[in-house]
């Protein structure tokens, strides 16, 4: 075991100072040290994407990032989405399209889609399906997830400020 390091990170707008071992993953920092258990771990080897969070606006696998690598960064997790209490358009679309069953993969898909839509405002269905294939869901067969994201992309595109 090695010495702990002090890191500072901003999670959903709140600054935290945490002392972590260099080998501690960002997923464990969020889940165990900060109690933000909405970020799930499904594989801890970078394939399932259940742990996806936004790090400085980019989707990352929190199981593949060490806490120390996140020092100084700004993290968004699923807990930060419905910040004012009301579900976001994307969260509502997930429910409307039955894009979740057990819900274990859902935070990862939401963060993946938020990161993606911020950079790709008008994707077509094929592109969305390809993006969705970055993460695994064992329950839904993905059709609802794709439908929800396509729906929100269109909605946001039409409502964008011109």
């Amino acid at each position: 075991m090695s010495e702990s390091c002090e890191i500072t990170l901003t999670v959903n707008g709140v600054r935290h100072q945490v002392s972590v071992e260099p080998r501690r993953t960002l997923a464990d920092v969020l889940r165990i040290d900060l109690g933000l258990t909405g970020t799930h771990v499904g594989c801890e080897h970078g394939i399932c994407g259940a742990c996806t969070v936004l790090m400085d606006d980019q989707p990352v696998r929190a199981c593949l990032v060490f806490g120390v690598q996140a020092d100084g960064s700004s993290i968004r997790t699923v807990e930060g989405l419905a910040a004012n209490g009301e579900l976001t358009d994307l969260q509502q679309a997930f429910s409307r399209h039955h894009a979740l069953q057990c819900g274990f993969c859902t935070p990862g898909f939401l963060m993946l889609a938020e990161g993606y839509l911020a950079e790709t405002p008008a994707p077509d269905r094929v592109a969305v399906r390809e993006m969705v294939s970055a993460n695994l869901c064992r329950c839904t067969g993905y059709q609802g997830i794709v439908d929800a994201i396509v729906d929100v992309a269109e909605q946001r595109f039409h409502e964008r400020p011109i």
Partner: protein, 789 residues
Amino acid sequence: MATASSARQSQQWVGQPLQRREDSRFLRGTGRYTDDVPHAFALHVAFVRSPIAFGVIRSIEVTRALEIPGVVAVLTSADLGHPSLTGFLDRDEFVTTSMPILAHERVRFVGEPIAIVVATDRYIAEDAVEAVACEIDELTAIVTMDDQVPSQIPIHDAAPDGVLVDLRMFTDDELEGVLAASPLVVDETFRSGRLQAAPMEGRGALAEWIDRDDQLVVTVSTQLPHQVRTGIAQALGLVERQVRVIVPDVGGGFGFKAVLGREEVAVAAAARILGRPVRWAEDRLESLTASFQGREQEYTVRAGFTEDGVLTGLAADIRCNVGAYSAFPFTCGLEPIMAATEFLGVYKVPRYASRSRGIASNKPPSNAYRGVSRPQIVMVMEGLMDRAADRLGIDRVEIRRRNTIRPEDFPYTGPNGITYEPGSYLEALELCAAQVQQLGWWQRREEAAPGFIRGIGIANFSERNAYGTATMGLRRMPMTPGFEVAHLTMDASGDVTLTSGTCSAGQGHETTFAQIVADRLGIAPDRIKLRQGDTDLTSFGWGTFAGRSLVIGGGAAAVAARKLATQLKEVAAYLLSVSADDIELSNGNATVRVSGESMSIDDIAKTVHFRSHLLPAREEYLLESHGSADPSGMFSNGCHAALVEIDAGTGAVCVLDYLVVEDCGVIVNPLVVDGQVRGGIAQGIGSTLYEEAEYSSDGQPLAGSFMSYLVPTAAEMPPIAIHHLETPCYQTETGVKGMGEAGTIGAPAVILSALNDALRSRGAWLEHVPVTPADMQQLLALPIETESS
């Protein structure tokens, strides 16, 4: 009887595509799965696991591990007092063996737990695992069902030939004669690969002894709260009251959690011994290689047909590689029994005989996985239909039509002794075939680009589900599942708490159960809160598996709701000075039918709780009821079709389009039904084209991560169109049939059928899953024959 009341029931909520009430917490990240349950003082566990498939343990050296700061204990089987679990059937054909909680004397598969390391932190626990030294004398691993090493000790002494169960449930002296006289006998061997259910949340447990309650409280990710309680109590020498099992949100089950694992018991034992809270979260390597698997099966079948393609008889020899142990409580007899009993599906087979065996190997134990043997038997029956159709020159839909149980045949009793209640077997087949035609699939089949070939598959099948005690009793388990009991309590605000011994793992019970109850109480579903997954909070029940929850648990809830409605009407009748028969409950009110006079159900609830002096003396105070249900079991049915394309260069397979006709009786929530169908098909496609828990010849697992165990992604999924038929069930008050497994059951058969259609021109024929690109390349190398369809 039940049907009469279901016909009368007004259905304002049942049938609506209500958005699920559980969604909000899952979308906010405030759902709570086992590893999310906070506990400031819990110690963390990692397991020392066998690195070899079969061997004799010489020594386990833990001193070095104990020296690591933060390590609290390293416990072996002896330290726990050699607890074990025994999943057995009370049958002569069944060899009873036990599964030690931690390996004792022998290790029987790679990944088998040998010791439990308890430390202040998971990282430290894993460091300590590395520091435990096990000396094991390696033996030759038994990996396939044909491996035999007579010169060494068997896997289990009680089964020297490795056969743990050998069933001849169906015999027929006339069958051989009938086959000999049949113009066509299709003689084939079908195989299916070993699978892992791979829910996104692995198993997990958090255990703590609470002295005040004289109880071991175990939070665990399971489908079977009460059976987990029984197993832990038995293994640790406690009475049932002393174990409380709590199941928070479950991140997928699929049968993988319809079991009690040894790790959960070890965690509970460690908490008891150390007097401290202990937790464990399974990682993906453990989940894929050291938990439960299933589906490694082989079917050698001979099916006789007349010249017109009508089945004359069928003989089957079924072998299931059940792994190293018999799982608790469903046993290693689960797959063999299911395969033999339900083999014939939707077809009329006049004569049937089968032998069905479960064979031990040095692989993780098999347990239920969504559909249990039905994906295989449907694949085999549909394969036989396709083969016979080809040989006899009959259209593939036509040969199915000629053999399917027809509407006028119901109730139909097959040679397997099962009586089938009405289903839409023929209607589903006809609708599916008509859709394929109408959607232009036959045209699309011919339009493959150069270098690609296309095929269309069809599979017509039934799925038995919601097995009650009458049916389960035939299996002869020491604990016979089947019934459910539901409790309803209306509180002083007029809200209702419903409890059930079923246990959702993502199926949306909180929504669908509420829809059933809402219609009967005349209140909105969001006023009804379902509580499950706590053995101290709910009546004893059998959990969630085999499409039973909404049928049996929901059926019990319907009965309880009907009784509570009667109580509400009686109070309203007294307060409004009318007869209870004149009262109707709807839109939150109790209304007198003729006069229209009404009072709110909230007011009734308030009166009963706070102002009972206004009411006449009653035998029962408050607003509480319970209901039970125990149907014998029923068949849902469906027909699937798929259009697939093969890249003749690479052998890659793409499922272009997929069509489902399904009949699960009365639909409570179409969103949920469609979700189950689509999710099930994804798993079925995975098992047909991508997934396999492969092993090397010395029993080393080759699929230990999601890089080698290939769960389908969105990129592999076709669009799926779903059509519903509705043949209500006779056996429950709701008319509902189970439907959670149908997608997984139909997909392998239909994809294989489509691939064989595409490959017909090559004279190739597939009878195994998964079909890999390597398989395809081999077949595509065959010379092309003249095209026919």
